[in-house]
Symmetry: C2
Subunit: 193 residues, 2 copies
C-alpha cells in the first residue's frame, strides 16, 4: 500500500554539492545545491539547477563557469551554511573558515578543504521553470590523495559525501558497501546461447 | 594535495533509480540509471539521461512518459540486473520476480515492490552528446506506508535507497543521520542587525 504525495520534488537520494563562482568584483562565492546530477558521459557533463534570484546565478551567467566541491561529512555544517547565507551580503568562505582556490581550468573557485572537486564550463543553459539548469562540461575532477583507495581511485568511504533527503530536509552519511555494480545482478541474467 | 582525474563523470553521490516505460507492444520495461537528478521545483521535475541506443529511449520518445522506482537496498541485485539486461530480449520484471504496475497518471509502469515511485510526464528533451536528457514533470510521488516516519513523511532510513559511485562502480547504503538541513549551519550565520 503506497501513500500519494502528489506533484513534489521528492526522491532519494539527492546530492549535497557546493557551487563555486566569482562575482563581478572577483570575490569567490559558494552555495549548496541538491538539484543536480550527471547528465552526459561524452562530453562528461553535470547539471545544476538554480533560481534566477540567486547570486550564483548571475555569476555563472557572466563567467560561464562553476566548480562543484563535494563536502565530506565533517563539513556538513559549512555546507548547510553555504545553502542559507547569500554571497551578496556575506563572505561565506571567510565565515566558514575555508579556503577559496582558483581553478586552473575555469574561471571559478573551489573549496580547498573539501575532498572532491569538479571544474566545469557551461555548455548549455535551459530554463525549466522556477529553476534554470546549467549544463557544465566537466574539464577536470580533483580528489584528495588521502581519499583514494589502494588502486588510486576515489573511495566514497574516505570522501564521506552527504546525502540529502528532500521534504524532510535531513543529511545522512553514506553507509556500508553493498556490492559491485555490473556484478551483483549477474545471477539474474538469462543464459545466452 | 589533490590528484587530477581529467574530464570524467566522477562525482559522489549519484542515485540508483529504475526507469519504467512501455514498449510498442505495451510490454513493461525497466532500466537502471545513475545519470539524473531533480532539476526544478516549480513545476517539480526530475531529469534522466539515456543513450539513444537504449530500448527505454525509444519507449519514452513514443509515450512521453516514464516512472522512477527507487529500489531499497535489499533489491540491489535486481536494480543492478535492470542496468545490464536489455528489454529488447528479456522480460526484466519476470526475470527478477517483480511486479509491473501501470501508473494511474502516466502511460508507464513502475516496480510495485520498490518503496518509492515517481510518475513523470516528459516536458523537455535535450540532446547533450552521447546522452539525451529527458526532463520529466513529477505528477505524483508514491511511497510505501511502511516507509513513512512518525509524521507521515518518507523516511530515508526505511526506504534504504542505494548510492552509486561512478568510476569504481560500487553500491553503498545510506548511513546515519547527521542533522537537519537549514539547521546545522545556523551557528555560522552572521548576526543581522
Amino acid at each position: 500500500m503506497k501513500t500519494s504525495f502528489g506533484p513534489n520534488t521528492l526522491i532519494f537520494p539527492t546530492p549535497v554539492w557546493c557551487v563555486g563562482s566569482y562575482d563581478t568584483d572577483g570575490r569567490p562565492n559558494v552555495m549548496t545545491i541538491a538539484w543536480g546530477g550527471i547528465c552526459c558521459s561524452k562530453p562528461p557533463a553535470v547539471t545544476i539547477s538554480l533560481r534566477k534570484s540567486r547570486y550564483t546565478y548571475e555569476n555563472i551567467v557572466r563567467t560561464g563557469a562553476y566548480t562543484l566541491s563535494v563536502p565530506g561529512e565533517h563539513h556538513a555544517a559549512a555546507a548547510d551554511f553555504f545553502g542559507m547565507a547569500s554571497g551578496r551580503k556575506t563572505d561565506k568562505f571567510k565565515a566558514a573558515g575555508l579556503t577559496a582556490v582558483k581553478s586552473d581550468v575555469v574561471n571559478a573557485p573551489y573549496v580547498a578543504e573539501f575532498p572532491m572537486v569538479l571544474e566545469c564550463r557551461v555548455i548549455h543553459t535551459f530554463d525549466i521553470g522556477a529553476h534554470t539548469q546549467f549544463v557544465g562540461e566537466i574539464l577536470d575532477v580533483k580528489v584528495d590523495a588521502s581519499a583514494l583507495n589502494a588502486d588510486g581511485k576515489p573511495d566514497i568511504e574516505k570522501i564521506r559525501p552527504l546525502v540529502f533527503s528532500p521534504e524532510v530536509s535531513l543529511y545522512h552519511t553514506v553507509g556500508r558497501q553493498i556490492g559491485k555494480a555490473f556484478g551483483i545482478g549477474k545471477p539474474l541474467m538469462p543464459d545466452r546461447d
